[in-house]
């Protein structure tokens, strides 16, 4: 009984992952992360992803703040934030988010405010989507482990 539930949940997880890969939301780097997870660090992936979320939200806030400053947007600083964002997104394989950042960076290099605004909107959207999906994934994982009778610390 328990086993079946775990299997079904695993299938759900895999389906979700497949979807995310399909959509280009995630790329191979995410798989590398999964491979790094082992008994000595069973929550590795979710820990890394949570760190990523934490950092990203800071960056997003900063970017929005910079862009909302109508007087003079500090494009250079935006570029710096974006570089950081790009770097960390590539660390977990957040491909789409990263791509938007790259375009955003291009717009900022041209001091193109409209372009930056659109990019920011898109970025926020992509980021939210990614975050939601990751949460979904981790929830499934937790449920699966519970169903499989494993003790698992609840995480966000």
């Amino acid at each position: 009984m328990l086993g079946l539930g775990a299997d079904r949940l695993r299938a759900d997880m895999n389906r979700l992952l497949a979807l995310l890969f399909h959509q280009g939301v995630l790329d191979e780097q995410f798989l590398q992360l999964q491979q790094l997870q082992d008994e000595s660090s069973p929550n590795f992936v979710s820990e890394v992803v949570n760190i990523y979320f934490h950092e990203s939200e800071k960056l997003l806030r900063n970017l929005r703040g910079l862009l909302m400053d109508r007087e003079c947007s500090d494009y250079k600083k935006m570029g710096i934030h974006l570089n950081q964002f790009i770097g960390s997104s590539s660390s977990i394989g957040a491909k789409r988010v990263r791509n938007v950042c790259v375009a955003f960076r291009a717009a900022s290099e041209q001091n193109n405010r409209a372009g930056c605004l659109r990019a920011l909107e898109l970025l926020e959207h992509e980021y939210c989507y990614l975050k939601n999906k990751m949460h979904e994934l981790f929830q499934l994982e937790q449920q699966r482990l519970l169903a499989a009778g494993v003790r698992y610390p609840m995480q966000n």
Binding site: V25, D27, E47, Q84, V102, Q110, G115, E126
Partner: protein
């Protein structure tokens, strides 16, 4: 995990227990790197700030075997860190794969624990690692330490034989200026035998060099050397030219010649290696970016540059600046002072200055593709740079059009790059997937292939109108997304579409190629298509041929069959 006191490497278990210090301001990367290194059974210490690392390194002079440092850190970059610690450790620089600097190819390491006599032994070109790093590369870093130790032993033996001669020569041949240039104080230099670095395994027993004046190639000196080489171009390089450019008064032509012999080849090889890897992963960005920095009307050369494989160019010019160009968009683009580092600017400016030249030099050169895969990837993506989208617009002459790319340029590729034709292939999944898997195919398949992604049916259909519109050079409605798509040019359209192609997957990484299109859509068509989940059509998924997911090695059809989970487990999914 911090070392509490002096700890020496466990030599018997080498490379287990290799003591690595990782410095990176990005906490996600830091965590990942730490985990990866631990998996290699290394002893890892992490640092989020360069100044903390500096502190650690100074405090525990023999506490670490290798330092891996990110290059782009807010307070200090990897180079500065290296300079500050004075070449005492093997230093590996870590770079985000879209930012590569030619200045990274510099001498980097000296050990921290050998005797005073050996302190001078310096290593050849350093290693730098590109993110995302593979486990394999990390597992190999111990080789740096090992090689150095071997060289040290050898050098000690040689030195002992020549000690007296050396001491005499030190006084005569080297002026104080030389020492100052090396950034060392006189005493330490004198103690450090004037030995030509012999760690080049290719040149093991060059005892004949004992007759010549020896030079200690410090980081600074080697950097100058590398810069000179880069400026001249690997293919035109020569000791005299390098010497002239280096502008180091006490250096002789012989010094440069032997250093070139020792360092030139490995340098070039390393660079090529990294570039090829970089290209594999980053396609477009590389090729087009640099263009931004060259104000010259690149014209035809730009065309060819754009279309030609970046790899081609690179292969020719690892040294030449064009290289700087191809890899370069990376180099040029990223190197620009957008980053917070002044140190780099000196070098950066050189790079920036070169692209024009590079272009002319390199582009026309037909070059054998290193591998069809890579080439393909490049030609594919070269005109479409996700990074340079906007820049592309402004700098590329309008005559440059993506599919006008002369066929001749693409000769080296396996198939001509015919966007137009390619797009006619835009039918629903079907054969494109297949094409995707076999790399050497023109771009269109890739694009269409990725239409398999959640973008759904909309995919193929949408691409066409996009192109049509662009073709007409009509005004693209703003819906084309925030991209500075004041671009009604084709190339911009191309760029947009190919945008998502960024990490260009190798055959191993089918995934990346596949979901390219998904990316494009989100970007290109603006916000209308943001509801991704709705695009995901289960039916589509079922149609995807299994071979599309070779890398993942699971049978897609079975994905939905709970009774056959074993297949999934073989793949990459969570077990």
């Amino acid at each position: 995990m911090m070392d509490n006191g002096f700890s020496s490497p466990r030599k018997d278990a080498f490379p287990v227990g290799l003591r690595v210090l990782v410095v990176d301001d990005d906490p996600t990367w830091l965590k990942i790197l730490e985990k990866m290194l631990r998996k290699c059974s290394y002893e890892v210490t992490t640092c989020g700030l360069a100044r903390d690392a500096l502190h650690l390194l100074r405090e525990r002079k023999d506490g670490y075997d290798i330092v891996i440092s990110d290059v782009n850190m807010p307070d200090m970059d990897g180079f500065k860190l290296l300079e500050h610690v004075g070449l005492r450790w093997i230093f590996l620089l870590l770079n985000a794969s879209d930012k590569m600097y030619s200045c990274h190819l510099t001498v980097m390491s000296v050990d921290g624990e050998t005797s005073q006599v050996m302190k001078g032994v310096q290593h050849g070109a350093c290693d730098y690692l590109l993110k995302p790093i593979r486990m394999k590369e990390l597992r190999n870093i111990w080789q740096h330490v090992f090689r150095k130790k071997i060289n040290e032993v050898r050098d000690i033996e040689i030195l002992e034989g020549m000690e007296s001669i050396q001491m005499a020569r030190n006084g005569l041949d080297q002026s104080n200026d030389g020492y100052l240039l090396c950034g060392e104080d006189l005493t330490s230099v004198k103690k450090r035998k004037d030995v030509e670095s012999k760690h080049d395994d290719k040149d093991p027993g060059d005892n004949s060099s004992t007759k010549k004046a020896r030079v200690v190639w410090s980081v600074d000196l080697h950097q100058k050397f590398v810069e000179a080489v880069n400026q001249i171009g690997f293919d035109k390089v020569g000791p005299k030219k390098i010497l002239d450019l280096m502008n180091v008064p006490w250096l002789t032509r012989e010094n440069v010649a032997s250093h070139l012999q020792r360092e030139g080849f490995p340098l070039m090889q390393k660079y090529r290696l990294y570039l090829s890897r970089l290209l594999k992963e980053n396609d477009t960005k590389i090729s087009v970016g640099g263009i931004k920095h060259s104000d010259s009307p690149l014209g035809d050369s730009a065309n060819s540059f754009g279309t030609q494989n970046s790899i081609n160019i690179q292969q020719n010019d690892v040294s030449s600046r064009s290289y700087g160009f191809s890899g370069n968009s990376l180099l040029v683009q990223n190197v620009e002072p957008r980053s917070h580092d002044n140190e780099r600017k000196g070098i950066v400016s050189k790079i920036v200055a070169e692209p024009k030249r590079a272009l002319t030099v390199e582009v026309p050169d037909p070059h054998k593709p290193r591998s069809s895969q890579m080439e393909f990837g490049h030609s594919l993506t070269s005109p479409a740079s996700e990074v340079n989208y906007a820049e592309y617009d402004s700098n590329f002459p309008t005559k440059f059009s993506w599919w006008e790319i002369p066929q001749s340029r693409l000769k080296q590729e396996q198939k001509p790059l015919h966007l137009d034709d390619g797009f006619s292939h835009l039918t629903w999944p079907g054969k494109q997937q297949h094409i995707q898997v076999d790399y050497p195919q023109p771009a269109p398949p890739i694009i269409s292939g990725s239409s398999v992604t959640g973008r759904g049916m909309g995919g193929s259909v949408k691409i066409k109108p996009l192109y049509d519109e662009c073709r007409k050079n009509g005004s693209q409605p703003e819906k084309s997304g925030f991209n500075l798509r004041c671009i009604s040019d084709l190339e911009s359209a191309q760029k947009n579409i190919n945008w998502g192609m960024s990490p260009f997957a190798t055959l191993d990484d089918d995934f990346q190629v596949r979901w390219v299109q998904g990316d494009c859509y989100a970007m290109n068509l603006g916000l209308e298509n943001i509801d991704f989940p709705e695009y995901f059509d289960r039916g589509l998924l079922a149609d995807v041929p299994t071979h599309l997911y070779d890398a993942v090695s699971f049978d897609y059809q079975n994905l939905y069959d709970p009774t056959e989970c074993s297949l999934i487990e073989q793949g990459l999914f969570i077990a």
